[in-house]
Amino acid sequence: MSGQGGADQGYRILSIMIAGLLAYGTLGWLLDRWLGTAWFLPIGLIVGVALGIYLVVVKFGRSQ
């Protein structure tokens, strides 16, 4: 896995971060629509980013 530098790893991390935002942002948005509230979407986005960062640390933080 050497030689390619960080580009491919960077793209994988990017996809995790996008997935976090998408998954929990969508969940929050759906809850908002369903319950008629307005605060699930921001919470979902924050939770998504937090989980994404956590997952990146778990997957890529150990090898060093």
Binding site: D8, A19, G52, L55
Partner: protein
């Protein structure tokens, strides 16, 4: 800018270039709309495939122990892909996937360079459908490789559950990993290729079409005198050459990145436990 652009809407030069500049034209309009799928960009992609197949067949013919000039060129190209992409990323399993990776790289590269080639002047993958097609193909390849190696159940477990996550977080992490590995990955793979080529081609069109239009102006427009407009046209055309050079770099880089990421995804699908 706005007063400069509006009088030229619908100009015979096709100014301003936009999404409509990427529309395909049917090859035989006389045959009617049911033959509309047979358009110039499809033919271009098929020619690209034929060029790639022809090139590698030609390179593979008449191989000798002591390589001649042609064989040396072919082997250098092949070794570059084999060693710097396939073997580095995939490790000892790389032979199985090498033909796909070589074909992928050469097909994308040829189609990207069509954007700089005067015969076509259009990068095939700036039509997003073609980029999606390639991403779907890579998606099938890396998932099939993983399923073939681990079986469906344990492959899904590996792809949705990274090691080292406590059980309490599983319900939160599993949907995230699933989305990241099975949806975001292939979509971003296609988007990256499409976006780079679409934007690059659009910028080239703005400079070339706009420059030649400014150069051929014969009456003052928007309060600017004719010599100033013509000078701006010359500068714009000269600058478009620099962008052409940049686009050649982008064409090579994007073919490389697409191939590297496909190899990377295959490698993460078949990776050993560690």
């Amino acid at each position: 800018m706005v007063p400069l652009l509006i009088p030229m809407e619908g100009d015979e030069h096709g100014w301003p270039p936009g999404v409509h500049s990427f529309d395909s034209r049917p090859l035989f309009p006389a045959l009617g709309p049911e033959w509309g799928w047979l358009n110039n960009h499809l033919i271009q992609a098929i020619i690209g495939a034929a060029v790639v197949i022809g090139f590698w067949l030609w390179m593979a013919r008449g191989q000798q122990v002591v390589p001649g000039r042609k064989q040396f060129l072919g082997e250098s190209l092949y070794n570059l892909l084999r060693n710097s992409i396939a073997r580095d990323i995939l490790g000892h399993d790389f032979r199985k996937f090498l033909p796909y990776l070589v074909a992928l790289f050469s097909f994308i590269l040829v189609n990207n360079l069509f954007g700089q080639l005067f015969l076509f002047m259009f990068p095939t993958f700036s039509k997003i459908g073609y980029a999606y097609g390639l991403a779907i193909l890579s998606y099938i390849v890396y998932n099939a490789a993983g399923i073939a190696k681990y079986g469906f159940g344990s492959y899904m477990r590996r792809m949705t559950l990274p090691e080292g996550v406590p059980v309490a977080l599983w319900p939160l992490i599993i949907p995230l990993e699933f989305l990241s590995n099975f949806i975001v990955r292939p979509v971003t793979l296609a988007m990256r290729l499409f976006g780079n080529l679409f934007a690059g081609h659009l910028v080239i069109m703005v400079f070339v079409v706009g420059g030649s239009m400014l150069l051929t102006m014969t009456e003052p427009t928007a309060g600017f005198p004719v010599p100033l407009l013509n000078t701006a046209g010359v500068v714009s055309l000269l600058f478009s050459l620099a962008i052409f050079a940049l686009e050649i770099l982008v064409a090579i880089l994007q073919a490389y990145i697409f191939t590297v990421l496909t190899a990377q995804y295959i490698s993460s699908a078949i990776a050993e436990e560690h």
